[in-house]
């Protein structure tokens, strides 16, 4: 449904925006940490190199080769390299074989990436190097290995990237999970709302949690309570009216019957005719009140008190036997197709009453020599009873309305009836949690009506 998809969209958009922002900040953070770590480590290396050059600077020229040689010999871990060259760049002492071409001898640190060649012709990895030219023209180059430092930096950055990715994934996953929970709540709310829209006003939206959704649910529930209270008031007022008017109407009928018995005194055909019409009208009035009260009675039944296992197959045969003569009387073709179906849980008498209302309608609306068809099919979800006729049919826009009290289709106003038959059926279906679907019997505009009763619980739908 529309509502569901929009929800999905909003949450998803928020989530994506959040993920992008998070990723960007993590990248900036890592970059800054990497940069500051490198700078700091270069600074440290530079100060070490500086102090070494300072030390060499304090040594006299003749002793310098020897000093450098000793320092080189003392270096077992190969973290520091030294080289002494004469004014022309020729190697005098130390393990640095040549002055790197890209190293200016300006007493500042430079990072050399693999260009420093040391003794035994080994090319060092990344080093920090610094060189000076002494007053005598000799040149000194000292270098410090940065490999393990770089290693540390790499490890740190890896850890940061990994951690960032992990955090991102976890946050996206938990966001999705929370979203899922929220979506489930929205779906629950949607189901309940649909049921309420179908007239099941007893239902309430699920509540729980203390968020905006919950607040809305509480508000809607409060509203529903108020609506239900008003509906019940209106309904009980209607029932009260029906109940109170029924007794005087019954008195009128009795009085009219008494008058009819005395008609021979008057001997007037006109009056007799009017009296007959009045009796018919009085009967109709009582029928309607009766039907209204019957609907309330069914609605107020203690839920499922009289329920037991009902064999629909025999029920349909019984119904068919009861109504077939009525159809035959008007030349209506009567077709019964009954599958063996599993028994349903229901109130046999009420189901019989409801189905007989449907059959009565079908026969009423079928034309003379028309057709009425009863079909009991074994649907995967349960038994399905379809009663169809080839009468005028119900226009699509009226199909919902026919289930309401007193509704009479435009084309059927001339036919007798209280307009309450289908309301009784609806009430019985609601009690059973079955569904009544109003449809057309085949394609085309005047193809008749098809009433389908789905005899399985619909609350979970």
């Amino acid at each position: 449904m529309e509502i569901g998809r929009r929800w999905h969209n909003t949450t998803f958009r928020w989530l994506s925006v959040y993920a992008v922002i998070f990723a960007l900040s993590v990248m900036v953070l890592i970059g800054f940490i990497g940069w500051s770590a490198t700078t700091r480590m270069e600074f440290d290396a530079d100060s070490v190199l500086h102090w070494q050059l300072f030390y060499f600077g304090s040594i006299d020229d003749p002793e310098l080769p020897e000093t450098i040689y000793r320092r080189t010999e003392g270096e077992h871990l190969h973290t520091n390299y030294f080289g002494l060259f004469d004014a022309n760049g020729k190697h005098i002492s130390g393990d640095i074989v040549a002055i790197p071409a890209d190293l200016p001898l300006d007493r500042t640190g430079h990072t050399l990436n693999g260009t420093l060649v040391v003794a035994h012709d080994i090319r060092t990895p990344v080093v920090r190097a610094m060189g000076i030219r002494r007053r005598s023209g000799e040149q000194i180059v000292v270098a410090r290995d940065l490999t393990h430092v770089l290693h540390v930096r790499e490890t740190m950055i890896n850890a940061l990237v990994g951690g960032g990715l992990f955090c991102l994934l976890v946050s996206i996953a938990s966001g999705l999970l929370l979203n899922l929970r929220q979506m489930r709540r929205v779906r629950d709310i949607r189901h309940v709302t649909l049921r309420i829209a179908q007239g099941d006003l007893n239902r309430r939206l699920p509540t729980g949690g203390r968020d905006e959704l919950d607040m809305l649910a509480h508000l809607v529930n409060h509203m529903l309570e108020e609506i239900e209270r008003l509906m019940t008031e209106v309904k009980s007022a209607c029932d009260g009216i029906a109940h109170d008017l029924r007794t005087p109407a019954a008195h009128i009928r009795t009085l009219l019957a008494n008058v009819a018995e005395r008609m021979h005194v008057i001997q007037d055909d006109g009056v007799a005719q009017m009296l007959d019409s009045a009796r018919v009208e009085a009967d109709m009035l009582l029928d309607r009140f009766g039907a209204m009260l019957r609907i309330s009675e069914i609605g107020a039944l203690k839920r499922r008190g009289g329920f037991s296992s009902v064999d629909l197959t025999t029920l349909v045969h019984e119904l068919s036997e009861l109504y077939e003569p009525l159809a035959e009387d008007r030349g209506i073709r009567w077709t019964v197709a009954v599958d063996q179906v599993a028994a349903v849980h229901g109130d046999r008498a009420l189901l019989f009453e409801a189905f007989s209302n449907l059959l009565d309608n079908a026969i009423k609306f079928a034309p003379d020599n028309g057709e009425v068809r009863i079909e009991l099919a074994d649907h995967p979800q349960g038994a399905q009873l379809t009663i169809s006729d080839n009468g005028p049919g119900i226009p699509e826009r009226e199909r919902e309305a026919v289930l309401q009290r007193f509704y009479r289709g435009d084309q059927t106003r001339h036919l007798a009836g209280s307009g309450l038959g289908l309301s009784i059926v609806s009430a019985v279906m609601r009690l059973h949690d079955f569904a009544l679907r109003v449809g057309a019997n085949g394609a085309g505009t005047n193809s008749g009506t098809s009433m389908t009763v789905e005899c399985w619980p619909h609350a979970l739908e």
Binding site: A250, H251, T254, A257, R294, D347, A349
Partner: protein
């Protein structure tokens, strides 16, 4: 000897109507408008039939009925109630009621039901009857064979059940509702037309053309088999 009827009913309008209707039919009617008095009168045992409202001030109809049956008053009781649902009906009949009528009712319906109750009481309970006889009609209850003037008439199961019910109550007015309740066992109003069609089918079979009709329609109320 006149038939004495006790009506326990708290609505004076309805009670007046009942009394007027029953007196017109030749019954002697006593009206009581509350439960305790109703119980006291009913206990006297001088009534042939008792009409009991379900809801009464003081003592409700079901309690009165249960008490009556406990002390051994066997007069038939017709329960009247504004509550029409099946549970209420079953409760009324279980407590010992003989019939149940939902208010407001047709006066013809009331008298027809009372007559049936009275007849049932007047006649000894059915001995092991094997045949029913009314005018030219004979029904064999064992073989389910129906004959008119010795000629066998073949009936469908429903038609047979209608005829059997009419034969058992020969000479009494049977309303459509009573027939529907007895033959089909349901308690709603299926519409006049439906029962008429079934009756029409039965009549066509048991009354050959030209012969005297055995089942007559009573205008506005039902049928009678003579």
């Amino acid at each position: 000897m006149t038939t004495r009827v006790l009506t326990v009913e708290d609505d004076p309008l309805a009670a007046n109507e009942i009394v007027a209707e029953l007196e017109k039919c030749g019954f002697e009617v006593d009206w009581v408008n509350n439960g305790p008095d109703g119980l006291a009168r009913a206990m006297s045992g001088e009534y042939d039939v008792i009409m009991l409202d379900r809801m009464l001030p003081g003592l409700d109809g079901l309690t009165i009925l249960t008490t009556l049956r406990t002390v051994g008053v066997q007069a038939p009781v017709l329960m009247l109630s504004a509550l029409g649902d099946v549970d209420e009906r079953i409760r009324g009949l279980r407590a010992g009621g003989d019939d149940y009528l939902t208010k407001p009712f047709n006066s013809d319906e009331l008298t027809a039901r009372l007559e049936v109750l009275l007849r049932r009481r007047r006649e000894a309970p059915a001995r092991n009857e094997t045949t029913l006889n009314a005018g030219p009609l004979l029904v064999d209850l064992i073989s389910r064979k129906v004959t008119r003037d010795g000629v066998e008439v073949s009936l469908l199961p429903t038609e047979y059940r209608i005829l059997e019910f009419m034969m058992r109550h020969a000479g009494q007015t049977i309303t459509r509702t009573m027939l529907f309740e007895a033959v089909w066992g349901y308690h709603f109003d299926p519409g006049t037309n439906l029962i008429d069609v079934h009756m029409g089918r039965l009549r066509k079979k048991i009354d050959p053309p030209g012969a005297k009709a055995t089942i007559q329609t009573v205008r506005g109320s039902g049928y009678i088999l003579t």
